[in-house]
Symmetry: C3
Subunit: 326 residues, 3 copies
């Protein structure tokens, strides 16, 4: 039995904790449409923060769109967790238009709401003779133009794995909420639009740099199981994806991670991006690194993460956020 | 006869008004080369503002490149209208290089000016055997390297339609100038570079946020007639194109638009962008929505817009800009 | 013998000067990994600035990542020279992942360093039957994940040409250092990440605008020999590449360049980008133009530049930077 088993007992088998993750994964909230998620988080924070080590300042409202920042003590580093998920917009004549990069699988169940009420429909993928592909919904009535649809949740859980739609990135959110319980110095940003071109991580980073001199960011997000990254081998520290984080910063974080004895894997991919890419391209002079558990079945209703990797992620964030103030 | 017919009489049949639009469409001004357009607007504003309800502050010069901002009263929202148009740069050996995404039609008439004088030439589109395409100009002499060429104007107008090069976006400019006549609170930005990668809407939005706390933007630009958007059915309120505007903001604007009883159409496209995309990707935390009349023959010398849609656009902007201060 | 021959004698044949360029080209420093280059420059500046006409303020550290700014007098314009070069990251199972756009030539010699020591390896390019291409390294051991590899240097020099890896952009750096010797008013920015998506030129430009009102930027970088740009015909003034610089600014610079009598060529390309593109897309309202010597064998270990073009580049920068204060 390895060292984190008792903690696994404590942390991951408590129904209350997995219930929070399950709830988070069920909230919908496609890119641009994060308001309900923000409201859920605000309510969760206000209800639970009395049990946290430090009561954070809550920054939100005009000038932050639907984003939310928590400030604990005197932050030197910030954690970014995006609230939005992939999905679809209902277009003209039963067409579906992608929000972000959802997997296109015939028969996938989608849910939403429009002026006529609740929607439970199904995706149809039509491969045309000319090689193009059209996506439509099958439903007993037409859906209002511009209505957002997201995956219907099928939650599954056993001793090893959690499976649900939207572990990307509700598990990154969940990780940030777990971190919040014991954080004494640091910022947590709940961002929007990450799955569809970004647009908020840059100004959040800039705000934290201007107001608090924050020059370090950890991206609390979910990555992919690939030929180099396996389930159950620990949280992935990404040395690169499509974007390159600053090497000086990467080297420092990896040194700290080694020192922590918490299991982790080094990721080196040639594609993909995150709020880290958005910070990189913004006018904020902020170092960043992506640190997150890997999942299989990416952007499907069946995203799957190993519980060991969840635990390793939480512990790694707790450890690293302290190191910035050591 | 529907309710706006008398106004159509008043507004659109007055030769003086259509003459202004015709003139605006004839100014050239490819992306990066907006100085002459800015000078024309400055002159128009200085000549006409005495008849406006409120005299705006005019912001321009160092720190704004070739952009122009008008501040009316205490703005909460801004209108963005881009001054630039698509066109071509003369390259080496009679080649033409695209500025933005002009339509490539053999025989299209182009105009410009270089060190040797005025240019009236013709575009030749050469489809090569290897599948590539080359664009050249046909002219009786070589054109200076780096000379900009834009469409020659062929203006056409009847009771229903206006047709010209560059209704995109001189009609958006015209709409902003009409709005200026009665605006009491609000900002109007005349931006550059929209057709070729952007680069000014972001800092204009940031300036207005920093100085005036402006967190709302309406994009006064021209969209496309598609399977979902028809001529004559009213201004298009775009729920999305390639980019997603914030849903909370979109819902608010649509609610106001319904309340207005002004005819409009809801657009839901999967591609395209505007100054809204640029604001989205900038470090300005500003909500935005694209609201504009639809055109056919996009990016050709024969862009066509229905006069009813022009009227609906002007009235919608007048209505919405008041609502931000209601 | 043309007028710059004596100066060529003086400037380019001095071993000490070419030795500096040779050294700069040997430093590695792929995008994101510029720290060693910055340290070299800091040391060079501290050692040599006593001989400069003006002692610059040196701006660096927190809030500037690995970038470096020199402020001479009261700057109105800034020179941007990027420190990073193209290269590769070692991935899983001997794969190489591109940093920026290096040429993929089988057998290219690469160097680097990991936890097991110094690396001298070779690139293997594998064209698969399905049309895809894989890049691997050939070395007698596995290389640590995430290790950066850059070209091994093969320096060659004769009366006319210099040949080395990484003249792009160590020659732009060298040009900036030569300019520094006599500069009285102006800023010099040594930027990062230019070859791989950018991420620093924007905030450097914004800092200089906010603090010093700098609204002009010259991009000291290396361009391509093409059908329109030849070796030995002088520094290239780029009227456009994939991005468009502001025409008003371009016209001003070309007027000054003509007045200078220094040989130059006008470039008009349809692709490519630079720190100028990054400034354009940033929230800094800064005019920019790319001005640099052309090279052949772009992004290979054998980049080649004509010495006349180097001299023309240095003289042009000296001339233009004075004109901003004339």
């Amino acid at each position: 039995m390895d060292e984190e088993q008792p903690l696994l007992q404590d942390a991951l088998k408590k129904i209350s904790i997995m219930e929070l993750l399950k709830k988070l994964c069920s909230l919908g909230g496609a890119s641009g449409d994060e308001l309900a998620v923000k409201k859920f988080l605000l309510n969760h924070i206000k209800t639970n923060q009395k049990n946290w080590k430090v009561q954070p300042a809550i920054i939100q409202g005009a000038g932050f769109q639907d984003c939310l920042i928590l400030i604990f003590g005197r932050p030197k580093a910030a954690v970014f967790a995006h609230m939005d998920v992939v999905g679809f917009t209902a277009g003209y004549q039963r067409s579906l238009i992608k929000i972000g990069g959802p997997a296109l699988v015939d028969g996938t169940k989608l849910t939403g709401k429009d002026s006529k009420g609740k929607i439970n429909c199904e995706m149809m993928v039509i491969d045309k003779e000319d090689g193009t592909r059209k996506i439509e919904y099958i439903f007993d009535r037409e859906i209002d133009r511009g209505t957002n649809l997201t995956y219907k949740q099928f939650w599954k859980e056993n001793d090893k794995y959690v499976q649900s739609c939207y572990l990307d990135n509700r598990l990154g959110i969940w990780n940030a909420l777990k971190l919040a319980e014991t954080l004494t110095n640091g910022a947590i940003c709940f961002s929007c639009f990450e799955e569809h071109g970004g647009g908020t991580a840059g100004y959040l980073a800039r705000y934290l740099y201007d107001e608090y001199n924050v020059t370090s960011a950890l991206i609390s997000d979910i990555t992919w199981v690939t030929e180099g990254i396996e389930h159950g081998k620990g949280v992935a520290l990404s040395m690169r994806d499509g974007s390159l984080p600053p090497r000086r910063f990467v080297d420092q974080i990896i040194e700290w991670a080694k020192e922590s004895k918490i299991p982790f894997q080094l990721e080196v991919e040639n594609a993909g991006g995150s709020d880290g890419t958005a910070i990189q391209k913004s006018d904020a002079p902020v170092d960043w690194m992506f640190i997150g558990a890997p999942e299989s079945n990416v952007h499907t209703p069946y995203e799957t993460v190993h519980k060991k990797d969840i635990l390793s992620m939480v512990k790694m964030y707790q450890y690293l956020m302290k190191k910035f103030h050591a």
